[in-house]
């Protein structure tokens, strides 16, 4: 019994330790995302200020849209990472579910802004470059992560 209690305590502390690592990881990802993609926003504003033709010309409309989407999605995903980290102790997620959601969220945080950004580097008229193929799977991963977390909050498990 005592052994069992000791094991439970160990499991709990392991889980707490895992959760703590996950929280720190996503806080780090979130804040770094915010830092990187607000910097990108600053660069885009500078492009407007300096009237850079490569970014502002009519022929660059697709590039402008892609870069703007990279900036916006990257920033919002930064917030989402922070929100995920702060939600972990309230959501009733199993370790596996938390790990899956974490992986999906981190993958999205990389793939989605990267797809938009690289897609804007080379454009074909109204179509972004081929790197845009990163975006749809990233969008699917984001949905997976959100559903996993939402299920954790709606679970009745003690």
């Amino acid at each position: 019994m005592a052994k069992r209690a000791a094991k439970t305590t160990t499991d709990k502390s392991d889980a707490d330790g895992d959760d703590g690592a996950l929280v720190r990881r996503h806080l780090a990802w979130g804040w770094w995302s915010l830092a990187i993609f607000t910097t990108l926003g600053l660069l885009l504003e500078a492009a407007h200020g300096l009237k850079l033709g490569w970014y502002l010309d009519v022929s660059s409309a697709t590039r402008r849209l892609s870069f703007t989407l990279a900036h916006a999605h990257g920033t919002l995903l930064g917030f989402l990472n922070i929100a995920f980290a702060l939600s972990l102790d309230k959501a009733k997620l199993s370790a596996t579910a938390a790990s899956r959601a974490s992986f999906a969220l981190r993958a999205v945080t990389v793939l989605m802004p990267l797809g938009f950004f690289l897609g804007g580097m080379v454009v074909y008229g109204g179509d972004p470059g081929l790197a845009i193929v990163l975006v749809p799977p990233a969008g699917a991963l984001l949905v997976v992560a959100l559903v996993v977390v939402a299920r954790g909050f709606s679970s009745r498990r003690g």
Binding site: D57, V58, S59, Y124, G125, G126
Partner: protein, 633 residues
């Protein structure tokens, strides 16, 4: 602790007794919001219904998007934003527009106009542009012998809304409904942008004096080239007209063909990326740049040429030419140098037919027929030259559509093939490298096309030569259009010396060729010569001011268009020279005399010199080719 009923009563009374300030403030806020929102909502609704009404009205004028296979430029922008916008800022798009405050450029501020036997009052009614004029249908029937005017009959007058405008670059013509189907007839006045004035419609064209401008039917005269996929349908039910267009103006599908299949196929993103990555063309649409040179030029040639349009094109189903197809199949070219039975038929119907289009050597001489000029060029026989060698719809200055990399009048267009000349310009031109005489186009594409009240570069690319004949409809040579103070003999000597050209016999007249053309040529030649005295190339190469007495004499030309061109050339020589080409003859003569007096102040002449000028003027004017000519621009 639960509150007692006493407490509850106290609370209620306290609430009742509480000052009503918050509630009053809320009411003020709500009231203010309503006050602001209601007018905004009302304005938005009104605007919405106005736009709806205008859309319905436009559809009633001439409906768009009705020809099978056409989707309009609206569908092109999403995938081709750069191409769409480069087209949108150009003048092809605005060739025909529905009348609106953004498209109408003429002065409609309660203006009364008279001239050429017409009078009209132009005014605004809200966003509508209105005209009060002789019933255009009545006028049309009179003009074309379908109605006899009884003695003392007063033409009926009507008030009409301007429905459409043609042109947005140099001048603008206007159209009003005929009320026979959706037939549109011309407002008999045109607005000239540079001059900021209205002139009778007939006086913007070069045509024999005395002739009155006849009512034009837009659905027949203009729809074929000034819209995309236009279908006149002007014979349905005899007098009925039910025209429709793919799109107003000259839009994407004029040059790329109907795009319905292309749009449908490319809704598939995998197809689009497959095409992007392959870098190959899309077989569902025509890209003129990927066509063989001859086929590609025909895309422009469908409008910028003289072709034999069948009655079905003019009056029925409209043009059947699709970019990429052979133009000859549906629109056989009419070329003086390659006569056909179709051309013979036109000449039989109108013996002056050729004079309206061609110089005597078979070179086209009226505007909007540049393809007809280009195909007669030696350069064209190499199989490489096409319109896109120098022009681009999408990467160009919208004024001349020359490639952005080719400055106007630069040599780049020619030296991309003639590299050896580009490397030794002066040796070839015998002019200073940086002079107008060393610019390829000034010698090989001089302004020997007349249109839009000015000289325009001829697209028959050839070398200057002197034939020995002057006057009539003889094509003027490039040398004497720049050196307007020199004789034909002088030019012939230079060409013989530099290029071993044979010198024609009998070139003894020392009169400057340009002066001879100005006073003795036919009306198109006179207009071309007059224009050159105001051209900056001639102004750099010759003392053009010496020609003022001759140009002043041209102010008395029987052709209004020649007077217009001569008056503008004089104004470029002496900005103080004021002249109204439509003023009564006495007033015009007085203006001419005043200009000459001003010139004499700066250029004193001895009695002998003055007499010599007078004699020369008299001699050359007496030799004037007065055969009727109408520039079929």
């Amino acid at each position: 602790m639960r509150p007692s009923s006493h407490d509850s009563a106290v609370v209620k009374s306290a609430v009742a007794a509480a000052p009503s300030r918050p509630r009053t403030s809320r009411r003020i806020v709500v009231g203010a919001l309503v006050l602001v929102m209601f007018p905004l909502a009302a304005w938005s609704a009104r605007r919405h219904f106005q736009l709806e009404r205008r859309h319905d009205e436009n559809a009633a004028i001439v409906p768009q998007q009705t020809r099978a296979g056409y989707v309009t430029s609206d569908r092109c922008e999403a995938c081709h934003p750069d191409e769409y916008h480069s087209w949108h800022r150009g003048y092809h798009r605005t060739m025909t527009q529905y009348a609106s405050p953004t498209s109408v450029r003429g002065d409609f501020g309660d203006v009364k106009l008279h001239g050429d036997g017409y009078d009209a009052r132009l005014f605004r009614r809200g966003d509508d542009f209105m005209v009060e004029m002789i019933d255009p249908l009545w006028q049309y029937e009179v003009d074309f012998g379908q109605r006899d005017v009884k003695p003392g009959e007063t033409p009926p007058r009507v008030e009409r809304r301007i429905t459409m405008v043609t042109g947005s670059h140099h001048m603008q013509a206007y159209w009003v409904p005929s009320l026979v189907g959706n037939g549109q007839l011309s407002l008999p006045f045109t607005y000239l942008f540079d001059d900021k004035r209205w002139v009778p419609r007939g006086d913007v064209f070069l045509h024999p004096p005395g002739g009155r401008h006849q009512e034009q039917v837009w659905n027949v005269s203009c729809i074929t080239c000034h819209t995309t996929g236009g279908q006149p349908h002007a014979l349905v039910g005899g007098k009925e007209v039910r025209s429709q267009v793919g799109e107003m103006g000259i839009a994407c599908e004029s040059c790329h063909g109907p795009a319905e299949e292309h749009v449908a196929a490319n809704q598939n993103p995998f197809r689009r990326y497959w095409l992007h990555l392959r870098g190959a063309g899309d077989p569902t649409i025509v890209n003129p740049a990927r066509l063989p040179a001859a086929r590609a030029s025909e895309v422009c040639g469908q409008c910028h040429s003289l072709t034999d349009l069948s009655n079905d094109i003019y009056l029925g189903e409209g043009r059947t030419f699709v970019p990429g197809e052979e133009l000859e199949r549906s629109q056989p070219l009419l070329r003086q140098l390659h006569p056909t039975p179709a051309l013979a038929k036109h000449i039989q119907e109108d013996p002056a037919y050729l004079r309206g289009y061609f110089w005597s050597d078979g070179t086209i001489r009226v505007s909007s027929r540049d393809y007809s000029g280009m195909i007669e060029s030696k350069c064209n026989s190499g199989g490489k030259l096409w319109c896109g060698s120098c022009h681009s719809q999408h990467k160009s200055d919208p004024v001349n559509l020359l490639w952005a990399s080719m400055q106007a009048d630069s040599d780049t267009a020619c030296t991309q093939c003639h590299k050896e000349i580009g490397g030794a310009v002066a040796a070839h031109t015998h002019h200073k490298v940086d002079s107008v005489g060393s610019r390829c186009v000034n010698c090989h594409m001089p302004h020997t096309v007349y249109g839009l009240l000015k000289g325009i570069r001829n697209h028959r690319i050839d070398s200057p030569h002197v034939t020995g004949r002057t006057g009539g409809s003889e094509r003027p040579n490039a040398c004497n259009l720049c050196h307007v103070d020199r004789s034909l003999g002088w030019a012939a000597d230079a060409l013989a010396r530099w290029y071993k050209q044979p010198r024609p016999a009998g070139l003894t007249d020392e009169t400057p060729a340009a002066i001879t053309w100005l006073l003795s040529g036919d009306a198109i030649l006179r207009a071309i010569a007059a224009w050159h005295f105001g051209w900056e190339g001639a102004q750099k190469a010759a003392p053009v001011a010496d020609a003022v007495p001759y140009l002043a004499s041209a102010l008395d030309d029987p052709y209004a268009a020649v007077r217009y061109v001569a008056g503008h050339a004089l104004a470029k020589i002496d900005p103080a020279a004021q002249f109204d080409y439509l003023a009564p003859v006495d007033e015009r003569r007085r203006a001419g005399e005043k200009i000459v007096r001003r010139w004499l102040d700066g250029h004193p002449q001895t009695a002998e010199q003055a007499a010599a000028i007078e004699a020369q003027l008299k001699r050359l004017t007496e030799q004037r080719d007065d055969r009727d000519v109408r520039a079929m621009e």
